[in-house]
Amino acid sequence: MATATPTTRSWYKRNEIAVTPWLFLLPGVLFFALYVIFPIFQSFWISFHEWDGLGEKTWVGTANYERLLGGDRKFETSFWNNIKWLILYLLAIPMGLSISLFLNQTVRGIRLYKSLFFFPFVISQVVVGLVFSWFYLPNDGLFDVITGLVGIDVRGGILGNPNTATYGIIAAGLWPQTAYCMILYLTGLNAVDPEQVEAARLDGAKGHKMLWYVIIPQLKPATFIAFVVTIIGALRSFDFIAVMTNGGPFGSTRVLSFYMFEESLSEFGFRMGYGAAIAVVLFCLMLIFITYFLWSMYQDEKGPR
């Protein structure tokens, strides 16, 4: 030991710059690999099996995928609901931009207004979901009371009617998401170059022309992040559905994330293999966006250090 110590120390000293980063990375990378990276591959593996989560896995090849893509009605509903979520959730971006433009002033108390507008985002989605499900209650809910005044009556309430339930949930989800986009744009607007705005004003630009040709291009970084978090949020939607409708009425509000959970861990049984196959499909859908996000970030990184 006594002779070994100096040599190891000098080896470390000689290679300090090369070794240190890996020592610092080790715990984080190991942990992340164990809980995030490996499970992705394991899920792919499990999706080729039939498995109840306890006993032996039985290899079934692509049977799960064949069943899934060969006319599983629940899967089809879930998939199309995911597409609805993706498209409608993006409304959070223009809505957030509008609110941020409305609030980007310097009157007294505006800071408090900004934080109060933002604060739906801080509340857990479970509570937002509950709040909205009471808001939508048939007959007694405030929404029904208000729409009743103009003579609209949704049969069974928004969430009780298969034609409207998904839209009702998406609207609830848009509430915190819009707040998030708003805060991104408020920060972005703060950094807009005042000289360019003044120059454009002297050239006679104003109103929506100014917004479109001068302001929005400068807000590009904020828009990118708003886009990333909104897409991720749309595909992760689970809490709202679980709390507000539990997939119903008649399974009309299922999305892939919810359907996967239902197949693998619910009173209907533990079909882990089938669940994993659904998760893989959702993952592949997400992968399209992840690739695009990473590619954009990589373009930025290539710049000089």
Binding site: F32, Y113, L130, V131, L142, I232
Partner: protein, 282 residues
């Protein structure tokens, strides 16, 4: 500045704007205001169908008293604290190290490791669900707070690394080079030079992760069950089945469950927003 500053516009528009602000806020927060009013109403109001009128009596103490003394709510809240706080600490420790390694050193695989963290951070939870649940079961940690904490720490390390690394990259690099010239050991550079400069990032991440973890619902129902270890987001659903259709109590319970991150947000607003809007400005 855009839009045109309100001070420079006509007097009438200024007054309209000042009046529009509170109206817009009330409309925006309508669902929340409704729940706040629900939570101080007496039971009788709901029986009589007085959902949206004024409360017939002020029952703040009765309702919130029931939440705290006649339900499992305090236990769930305490579980949430015991899950959230260790997660925050664990994430901060791990990610300040990974962020330091990726932000300061040039080595092969740097960008690859960095992008692995970012990519992992974006994946849908469901692709991790079955294996992570299986792993937690085999570690004998199913239905324990520790099992939940370990997963959260690992997963949030992805986002935290992204955050820390970008923050450290923006620090003045000559400072580190100067220390190296002086012969300061690398780990001392981390502890005595970089870490003190990272305080704003640490504060921002702490509030963000606190909020994310407090509000987590999916992993809570996947990895735990029952009041021994479930956090308040999952507890609120069993609370609601205990008081089915008792809207005044369910509202009070929801408000209690949602409150800690709200307090955190208002107390540390600057850091919170700085964290969320990282990268929104170049």
């Amino acid at each position: 500045m855009f839009p045109k500053p309100i001070e420079k516009s006509s007097r009438s528009w200024q007054i309209t704007y000042q009046m529009l602000l509170p109206v817009a806020l009330i409309v925006w927060l309508l669902p929340l205001i409704a729940v706040a009013i629900f939570s101080i109403k007496p039971d009788a109001d709901f029986v009589n169908g007085n959902y949206w009128g004024l409360p017939s009596s002020f029952e703040f103490f009765t309702n919130y008293g029931k939440v705290f003394f006649e339900s499992d709510m305090p236990r769930y809240l305490w579980n949430s604290v015991l899950i959230t706080v260790p997660t925050v600490i664990g994430c901060i420790i791990l990610s300040s190290m990974t962020g330091f390694a990726l932000g300061v050193y040039k080595f092969r695989g740097n960008l690859l490791t960095f992008f692995m963290f970012i990519a992992g951070n974006f994946v849908p939870f469901q692709i991790l669900m079955v294996p992570v649940r299986d792993l937690t079961l085999s570690l004998n940690l199913y239905d324990t707070k520790l099992g939940l904490v370990l997963f959260h720490v690992a997963f949030q390390t992805g986002f935290c690394t992204l955050f820390m690394r970008n923050f450290i990259r923006a620090l003045p690099f000559p400072l580190i080079e100067a220390a190296r010239v002086e012969g300061v050991a690398e780990w001392r550079i981390f502890v005595f030079i970089v870490l003190p400069l990272m305080k704003p990032a640490l504060a921002a991440l702490s509030v963000l992760i606190f909020t994310f973890i407090w509000n987590d619902y999916f992993w809570a129902i996947v990895l735990t069950q029952g009041p021994d270890s479930q956090p308040v987001t999952a507890g609120i659903t069993s609370f609601n089945s205990q008081f089915r259709a008792a809207y005044h109590l369910m509202s009070a319970g929801s408000i209690v469950a949602a409150l800690p991150p709200v307090i955190m947000f208002f107390a540390m607003q600057k850091h919170f927003i700085a964290g969320l809007t990282l990268g929104a400005v170049k």
